[in-house]
């Protein structure tokens, strides 16, 4: 059960001719795929397209009606390879993943797919995780399109444009026998809007109308001499076919303006930001009517040279608004213009930042400076610059008034996260065995590298925690500890890490976070996920897809299960693994279900029980304010959002005291840490009994009487609020 359910929203996928869809970008893309007659879809989760996978899964009944196969792929490589269906057969299909990291993983299959070429339309929906909110290295997918000759669509970020690009993308793919990528930036994936729908189309072939005979064509095989022929075909036939299709179908758009001695060329995804910037300095209105002409590239690869020269020829200067680096588009536009001997000046990087997201602010600065320098005809510069200056000054004033930068809020482990205790344990184990190198991995556990833990020396990629320890391990005094999530384990860690470490007889320690899902991406299921939720510890799963059996299968001998919340046990197990004389790989499976998923599952159960009058025990932790001395060591070993500070109510003290708020889920870490770290006695655990039984009440009464009498005898004149 994924974090977000689209069960209700997927009904929108049934809309037909004349209806209006209203909803999120991701869902609109799915609808567009169905309107395009796909026969198969799949992918691998990751922001910002995690929800696309959730939508596809929640839409299975509708997909089944249309005969569309939905595949939950093992990795992006698997998803890209799935597109092989379109090589020989006239079936359309789509795959999705997070980019550029996912595209990196997929690139082997992508190269082969692009070289062989496709018969049916093949589309990759790329979630371009770049800029604010991104969780990955900052690169562009554009390079992949160029190196493999895959066409790159970058639609204007509104639903009608996105939907149109999906539909035309399939036609472009088929017209040029080439797969296409649809690039969606984070905010476009989540943009909420409307479009006029069409009926869904059934694919020529599908689960309901299967292909009778397989087709064999050596020309489609990636081996010489076919590969040489394929490369030539790309350049001589497919590329020109694509350029012609893009031009003939008007996929790129020109918006005329009165100040036509200058212009702006932008990626489709940047169009709204450009309009907004022009609007802010008084050169455009809310409907996109702009004084400055705009050439909007909804297809950023390949470019259409005749369109570029036609737009630029009559202009003194154009501004290229191209997010990310290197500046492929600016370079290409320059080349096109110079080759056709058009001398229009191309401005771009320099006025706009070379690196980093093109936020509203960045584009505003770039556009304003371009207008200032180029002086478009008929534009009165004074009010334009005055408006711009006013905005710049206001921000500077606010910064000055604050006087000190606002502290950042990096992401961190959620309240009660089962992975947090493992890093608390590592911090404490360090004190016992000395500091050790940690090969971190991708997943929620990467947050260990942030405060308060700062654990993890390298991150090399998803599932690669163990693989990235193989070089440094033999060169370190102490054993290296590698971390891997269960998601990364099934994605590739089992082979690239575990099997290989056993094969090489590498001596190291691997901690596998078994939390039951790919939690960071929104709780998608993986092979070891348990139906209905939860995790299984130590016992083999009935269907055989469990982590321990996989480990044994590839020859791991030293395996320990440990409940993550038992900090002392985790420390002990880590110490054993670090100090045992036995060589080879030592694997600790750290069991603890993702607390977000767990709470979502058990909360309704508990409240139903309470409602039915059943006895339910609720647990949470707290801090005795008068025992806490305010040094906050506990926070430095935890970082739990529910463990914070509050102003002291003691007039004699000044520093804030630790405090547990009502979000506490009673995971037990606070108590474990105060024990394991010999921290301080101010923590307490409170078990609150809802709907107490007769026995509960009788015991409580007895305790109250005995304890009450002793308390009174001890100090009858005790003052209230003495502390």
């Amino acid at each position: 059960m994924a974090e977000r359910s689209f069960k209700k929203e997927v009904e929108l996928l049934r809309l037909g001719d004349g209806d209006t869809f209203e909803g999120e970008g991701i869902l609109a893309v799915t609808k567009a795929l169905l309107q395009s007659g796909v026969s198969y879809v799949g992918g691998y989760q990751g922001a910002p397209v995690s929800h696309l996978m959730d939508v596809l899964n929640d839409a299975r009944p509708i997909m089944d009606e249309l005969g569309v196969h939905v595949e939950t792929c093992a990795s992006e490589a698997g998803a890209a390879a799935m597109l092989g269906a379109s090589v020989n057969y006239p079936v359309r299909g789509a795959a999705t993943w997070k980019s550029t990291v996912g595209t990196n993983v997929a690139s082997d299959a992508l190269s082969n797919l692009a070289s062989a070429g496709v018969t049916g339309g093949a589309m990759i929906v790329i979630g371009e995780d770049y800029g604010e909110g991104s969780s990955i290295i900052q690169e562009r997918s554009h390079a992949f399109a160029m190196k493999s000759q895959i066409w790159l669509l970058d639609p204007r970020p509104n639903l009608p444009s996105i939907v149109k690009m999906v539909e035309q993308g399939f036609e472009l793919s088929e017209a040029s026998s080439t797969p296409v990528m649809l690039e969606l930036r984070i905010r476009a994936c989540h943009v909420h809007g409307r479009f006029a729908t069409k009926d869904n189309r059934r694919g020529t072939f599908s689960g309901q109308n299967r292909i009778a005979d397989p087709s064999f064509d050596y020309g489609r095989i990636c081996l010489p001499p076919s590969t040489y022929v394929q490369e030539k075909d790309k350049i001589e036939r497919r590329w020109p076919a694509a350029v012609n299709f893009i031009r003939d179908h008007g996929m790129n758009e020109v918006f005329d303006g009165t100040a036509d001695d200058v212009g702006i060329v932008c990626q489709g995804g940047m169009y709204n930001a450009v309009i907004r910037a022009l609007q802010q300095i008084g050169l455009a209105d809310a409907f996109g009517e702009s004084a400055v002409p705009i050439y909007c590239l909804n297809v950023t690869y390949p470019l259409v040279p005749s369109e570029v020269t036609a737009f630029c020829a009559s202009k003194r200067a154009v501004l290229m608004v191209e997010e990310g680096q290197p500046s492929y588009l600016e370079d290409a536009v320059n080349t096109i213009l110079r080759k056709s001997d058009v001398q229009t000046r191309v401005m771009g990087k320099g006025l706009l930042p070379m690196a980093g997201e093109y936020t509203g602010e960045a584009v505003l600065h770039g556009v304003a400076r371009f207008v200032e320098g180029a002086v478009p005809k008929g534009v009165d510069l004074a009010p334009v610059l005055q408006r711009y200056q006013q905005i710049v000054d206001a921000k500077a004033k606010a910064v000055r008034l604050l006087g000190e930068p606002i502290p950042t809020r990096p992401p961190g482990f959620c309240t009660g996260c089962p992975e947090r205790p493992v890093f608390s344990a590592m911090k404490l184990a360090e004190q016992k065995v000395g500091k050790f190198h940690v090969s971190a991995d991708i997943g929620c556990h990467t947050f260990s590298t942030l405060p308060p833990f700062n654990i993890g020396n390298t991150v090399l990629g998803y599932g690669l925690g163990l693989a990235s320890s193989t070089g440094i391990g033999p060169n370190m005094d102490r054993r290296v500890v590698s971390v891997m999530g269960d998601g990364g384990f099934w994605h590739n860690g089992l082979t690239s890490g575990v099997a290989n470490a056993v094969f090489n007889d590498d001596d190291g320690v691997l901690v596998i976070m078994n939390n039951g899902y790919t939690s960071a991406t929104g709780h998608q299921a993986i092979p070891s996920s348990v139906k209905g939720g939860g995790i299984r510890s130590g016992a083999f799963q009935p269907d055989g897809q469990d982590i321990e059996r996989a480990l044994r299968g590839v020859g791991v001998k030293w395996i320990r299960h440990v409940r993550t919340y038992s900090v002392s046990k985790v420390i002990g197990t880590l110490r054993d693994a670090m100090t045992t004389k036995r060589g080879g790989l030592k694997v600790i499976i750290a069991d603890g279900e993702c607390q977000l998923a767990r709470q979502r599952r058990i909360k309704p159960e508990a409240s139903a029980k309470v409602k039915a009058g059943n006895r339910v025990v609720r647990t949470r932790f707290g801090v005795d304010e008068d025992v806490c001395t305010g040094d906050h060591s506990c926070i430095r070993l935890s970082g739990c959002p529910s463990l914070s500070v509050k102003p002291t109510s003691d007039p004699l003290r000044d520093d804030p005291v630790a405090h547990v708020n009502n979000d506490c889920v009673g995971c037990g870490l606070c108590g474990e840490v105060s024990h394991a770290a010999v921290l301080c006695p101010s923590f307490f655990k409170a078990d609150i009994v809802r709907n107490p039984g007769r026995l509960d009440r009788w015991r409580q009464g007895l305790r109250d009487r005995v304890i009450g009498r002793l308390s009174r005898s001890s100090n009858p004149s005790r003052q209230e609020n003495a502390a």
């Binding site: 209203e22 910002p48 995780d129 969780s135 984070i186 905010r187 989540h190 943009v191 909420h192 930001a273 309009i275 907004r276 910037a277 409907f287 996109g288 009517e289 006013q390 206001a394 921000k395 604050l402 000190e404 606002i406 950042t408 992401p411 482990f413 947050f447 960071a520 707290g622 005795d624 001395t629 305010g630 040094d631 060591s633 970082g639 959002p641 007039p651 004699l652 000044d654 804030p656 009502n662 024990h675 010999v678 921290l679 006695p681 307490f684 655990k685 409170a686 609150i688 009994v689 107490p692 509960d696 409580q700 305790r703 304890i707 308390s711 001890s714 004149s717 005790r718 609020n721 003495a722």
Partner: protein, 504 residues
């Protein structure tokens, strides 16, 4: 070009606060009113406890005009009409990013604080000064609706995003009637009544009503007498007026901690300090040194040994406080479990000094001093768990004979002597040394490190005296001592101070 303009709304929230629901309501309300509306967000890892934003643009549809507006996907500085922040620091972030400008922005924010990790993990007080945000908001916002919405929401048994939504409606800055807002909540279908109550509360506040909880309770007890009249008289007679209230609080604390005799001892020490302070011009400096000593001396003298911890944990008022904190209903039993892990030091600290030192020495030589801690889960609300803690708390009379007591008194004496001595040299230096008293705190490792740092700081006072200005030199060391738990920063700062001296 047409004149119509979009209304832009930026919502800053923390992951898991319901910012998405709030944005969803607004989109729904705008849709109901027949307006153009677009919303974007950046979910992903930002949702996992980080700061996140939702951005919404709304535009009224002109009669007969079917052109679709081009709406922005990111907020731009100087282009935000309604800035909503679910917490004060996030309002500060919005200000810092230029999203609050005097020409157009209405700032709607809750003033409660949720501390960022750097703020709460600091060893002393790392909190961002909230006044900075308030001051900047005052000047930058065209209009502001600021109050503690979390407190109000709790009082009204509702959630903060409903209060924010109400404030957005009540501020009259969005082109939507109140009914559209309320219908959006109703169509959400979840906790409708509570949400509508919260909405109404926020609406009224934005219209200028005062929050119900505006009167803050004072932290200092207003009971100005002590049970012991002689002590009260003594305080009134011997201490300057501005110190009396704090001194009464201190004396009260120490009577509770040990007894009247111990409170007298506190006043002896305090009076000596006041005398030294007055001799060095304290009168004209509002007794800044004595004032700090009044507080810190009482806290230090009431050091947290096992007896004290046991005593505090078994008090009836403590059980009542816990019950309130965990929101237990009157008929619900609450079981409290304590996490205690006494070891050699803790046990030895209860023995007479000579015997205690011998025991620690023995354990040290055997290499087990830090390895014999016994982790105990003590259920203090059960008779079995309560009894040992109760017995421990009754050792109060024995306390003055313990090793811990002797050691703490020695340290306190050293501290007071160094302060008195510093008063001769530099008043500001003395004041910083008083603050340094707080480094001795915590339990076990933390406490041991604190003691180490305390002595290093006191040892460094002579070196600081020759630095210019001495107070700043000492403050640098103190900040270093409070900046990392391992004490590395203090070692570096001390080395730097020595280096400077050598160079001079």
């Amino acid at each position: 070009m047409s004149e119509s303009r979009t209304t832009t709304v930026l919502i800053a929230a923390l992951g898991g606060e319901g910012g998405g629901v709030l944005a969803g309501w607004l989109v729904d309300a705008a849709g109901r009113a027949g307006h153009w509306v677009q919303q974007t967000s950046i979910p992903g890892v930002a949702q996992r406890t980080g700061a996140t934003t939702y951005y919404i643009e709304i535009m009224e549809r002109a009669e007969g005009d079917d052109r679709q507006p081009v709406m922005g996907l990111t907020a731009s500085p100087g282009n935000v009409d309604v800035m909503v922040a679910s917490e004060l620091l996030e309002a500060g972030r919005a200000l810092e990013n230029g999203f609050v400008t005097p020409d157009r922005t209405t700032l709607i924010a809750s003033t409660h604080r949720i501390y960022a990790i750097a703020e709460k993990s600091a060893m002393a007080d790392g909190r961002y000064d909230a006044e900075r945000v308030r001051r900047a908001a005052e000047q930058m916002a065209a209009r502001q609706v600021l109050f503690d919405m979390r407190a109000e929401a709790e009082r009204a048994n509702t959630v903060i995003n409903a209060v924010l939504f109400g404030a957005m409606a009540g501020a009259n800055v969005l082109p939507l009637p109140r009914e559209a807002f309320e219908d959006a909540i109703r169509s959400g279908g979840i906790a409708v009544e509570a949400n509508l109550a919260g909405f109404d509360l926020g609406f009224r506040m934005a219209q200028g009503e005062r929050p119900a909880g505006a009167t803050e309770s004072t932290t200092v007890s207003d009971d100005d007498g002590l049970d012991d009249r002689t002590l009260t008289d003594r305080i009134n007679r011997n201490l300057p007026g501005m110190l009396q209230e704090l001194a009464r609080e201190g004396a009260r604390r120490l009577i509770d901690y040990q007894g009247v005799g111990y409170a007298r001892f506190y006043l002896d020490r305090l009076e000596a300090m006041v005398k030294a302070d007055a001799a060095r011009g304290g009168t004209s400096r509002s007794y800044a040194v004595s004032r700090e000593v009044t507080r810190r001396l009482a806290v230090w003298m009431a050091f947290e040994d096992l007896i004290r911890v046991a005593d505090l944990k078994i008090r009836p008022e403590r059980v009542a406080r816990v019950r309130a904190e965990v929101k237990a209903a009157a008929d619900e039993p609450v079981m409290i479990t304590e996490f205690l892990k006494p070891g050699v030091d803790e046990v030895a600290s209860l023995l007479p000094p000579a015997m205690g030192r011998w025991a620690i020495g023995l354990a040290d030589r055997a290499g087990v001093r830090y390895r014999l801690n016994v982790g105990m889960h003590v259920s203090s609300t059960r008779i079995r768990g309560f009894l040992p803690m109760w017995l421990l708390s009754r050792l109060k009379g024995w306390r003055p004979r313990t090793l811990r007591f002797a050691e703490e008194q020695d340290r306190i004496d050293r501290w007071l002597a160094v302060i008195t001595d510093a008063l001769e040299a530099d008043y500001d230096l003395a004041r910083e040394i008083v603050v340094a008293g707080k480094v001795v705190r915590g339990y076990s490792d933390t406490h041991r490190r604190g003691i180490r740092n305390f002595h290093l700081l006191m040892d460094a006072v002579p070196a600081c005296k020759s630095a210019r200005p001495p107070a700043r030199a000492f403050r640098t060391l103190l900040d270093a001592a409070l900046s990392d738990p391992e004490g590395d920063a203090l070692d570096r700062a001390l080395a730097a101070l020595r280096g400077e001296k050598a160079a001079a």
